[in-house]
């Protein structure tokens, strides 16, 4: 049956091509995600970080961390509204992007700003709520990044989804950290906070609708959608 064999071969080829494209799209997204870091690095070496370079580094890395976190949380509502279910494939990667920038943010503070003065860092985290909440948010992102692998998804099973809902408290802490980090109430941090609230609100609305329709709870459908594990 040469026709069937040919069809199977064609299907195989198709899958292979699609897989390659998918991999390329992830690489492209990483390239896009890390562009601000690359630009900043170039700025650093060409003296374009302004009068107080360490402050600029801290501000920029913090901004890109919260931006990635916002994109991560926007995936699900956007998917529901637009029906673009393929979006979910990039959610985990965006979350990792947030972790990368949050780590750079903390790293700049600890290594460059404080010059690794550990007692100063510990004092900050323990005694200053503004610092405590920022550090707590980073710890949450760390836990989520570590458990973001396929292996951990399998190992944790249903608990994985529960654990990764910690991204919501993290978003709350990050918003507060950003608003509080300013000397007066500033528009930008409030816009981010409002956006997080909106995204969270959208999820609540979706959940209520689902319940009204008697549909399954989101957690019951398994852990991460299969499409994301691909």
């Amino acid at each position: 049956m040469p026709a069937v064999a040919a069809a199977a071969r064609a299907g195989e080829r198709d899958r292979e091509v699609r897989k390659r494209w998918r991999r390329a799209s992830h690489l492209a997204l990483w390239a896009l995600s890390l562009t601000p870091a690359a630009v900043t690095l170039v700025d650093a070496f060409t003296g374009r970080l302004g009068v107080n370079p360490i402050e600029t580094l801290t501000d920029r890395t913090g901004w890109w961390a919260i931006f990635h976190l916002l994109l991560t949380l926007a995936v699900t509502p956007l998917r529901r509204i637009t029906g673009w279910h393929w979006l979910v494939r990039y959610r985990r990667q965006l979350g990792l992007g947030a972790f990368v920038y949050a780590s750079l943010h903390l790293g700049v503070y600890a290594f460059l700003d404080l010059g690794l003065d550990l007692s100063h860092l510990v004092e900050d985290v323990l005694e200053r709520p503004f610092m405590t909440i920022g550090f707590t948010a980073w710890l949450i992102l760390l836990a989520l990044a570590v458990t973001s692998t396929d292996g951990w998804i399998r190992r944790l099973g249903r608990r994985w989804a529960a654990l990764h809902r910690l991204v919501y408290p993290a978003a709350g802490l990050v918003s507060l950290h950003f608003v509080w980090g300013q000397k007066t109430l500033q528009a930008e941090p409030l816009v981010f906070t409002g956006a997080f609230a909106l995204l969270l609100g959208a999820r609540v609305v979706f959940a209520l609708r689902r319940r009204a329709r008697g549909g399954p709870e989101p957690g019951r459908r398994g852990t991460a959608p299969l499409s994301e594990r691909a």
């Binding site: 009068v51 107080n52 360490i54 460059l112 003065d117 004092e123 200053r128 610092m131 509080w180 007066t184």
Partner: protein
């Protein structure tokens, strides 16, 4: 003296006799001196201006490296123009500083509105190289040009009941974008206790690096109080009032648990959100230790003897 005074004070010769002035000035000096616990400042006050001022030239000068002019003029907190530190230099182009006048009022013998030229022409402009420590934990070394506030105060002759000096900055929303956005409750207000105002370190600046003040730095005339956090050094002053009650300064109104009236540089009293133990000198990589009273303790610590500086932060 009378002719200089009259020129400054814009009053006809026959309305003010030198004797009266002299007496009221003496009264004020005694009052001021009694407020000052210490020695150096009190002695200087007792001698009056003139000879003593010569000895005070360059008082408190640091021989540390001056911060780059570019940094001093482009990295500023001046909310009248905007929130970002680059806003004052970028957005102050419309700000008009000529003509300029300062209105003096309150508990003072010589109230009135004086043009900047009238004020400045009374004094020999000198240079003071001071450290500036911002409450945000960065610092600079700035060569200011100007004159001692105490010399101006002596000409204005506060009444004995005057215990504080209240300063007000300019309010011109049409020229100041940050005021249009109402970033703070404007006009910006600051204040000093009379002995702080009379301290020979307290300076009225009209220039930096031997050039007239840039708009971003508080042109055309601003206060410089080097042992206090930068926000005490109010910019673009249009009003000076002598008052009996402690004025509410703007940052204290906005965030009373974060910013006090005294705002003395103090490595042992932290800001709620960050430590004040160290600071970054602009242009340097490593942080340095912050000094008590920004390193001017010898000249100012006596004013706060017996005061709880944790409560009066």
């Amino acid at each position: 003296m009378p002719s200089i005074l009259n020129r400054l004070l814009k009053v006809p010769e026959d309305e003010v006799t030198p004797e009266e002035l002299y007496l009221s000035r003496r009264t004020f000096m005694r009052a001021a001196a009694s407020l000052v616990v210490g020695t150096a400042a009190a002695a200087a006050l007792g001698q009056g201006a003139g000879a003593a001022d010569d000895e005070l030239r360059g008082l408190g000068d640091t021989d540390e490296r001056w911060t780059d002019y570019e940094a001093i003029t482009t990295y500023n907190n001046f909310y009248e123009f905007g929130y970002d530190k680059s806003d004052p230099s970028r957005l102050s182009g419309d700000f008009v500083t000529d003509p300029w006048s300062v209105t003096v009022g309150g508990l003072v013998e010589n109230p009135g509105t004086y043009s900047l030229e009238e004020i400045v022409s009374q004094f020999e402009i000198e240079r003071r190289v001071y450290r500036l420590r911002c409450v945000e934990a960065w610092s600079m070394v700035i060569p200011w040009n100007g004159f001692m506030l105490r010399d101006l105060i002596e000409l204005l002759v506060p009444k004995p009941e005057a215990r504080y000096v209240r300063f007000e900055a300019v309010f011109r929303p049409e020229q100041m974008p940050g005021q249009r956005r109402e970033l703070l409750p404007f006009p910006y207000v600051e204040g000093l206790r009379m002995d702080e105002a009379m301290n020979p370190l307290t300076f009225m600046a009209t220039g930096i690096y031997d050039k007239p003040l840039k708009n971003a730095n508080g042109a055309p005339i601003r206060l410089v109080v080097p042992w206090k956090y930068g926000f005490k050094s109010i910019k673009s002053i249009v009003k000076i009032d002598f008052v009996a009650e402690q004025p509410r300064n703007t940052w204290n109104v906005v965030a009373p648990h974060e910013y006090g009236f005294y705002a003395n540089v103090n490595p042992n009293v932290d800001h709620p959100r960050w430590s004040q133990r160290t600071e970054r000198r602009i242009g340097e990589f490593r942080r340095r230790e912050t000094l008590m009273f920004n390193g001017y303790g010898e000249l100012v610590a006596h004013m706060y003897e017996g005061m709880d500086l944790v409560r009066n932060f």
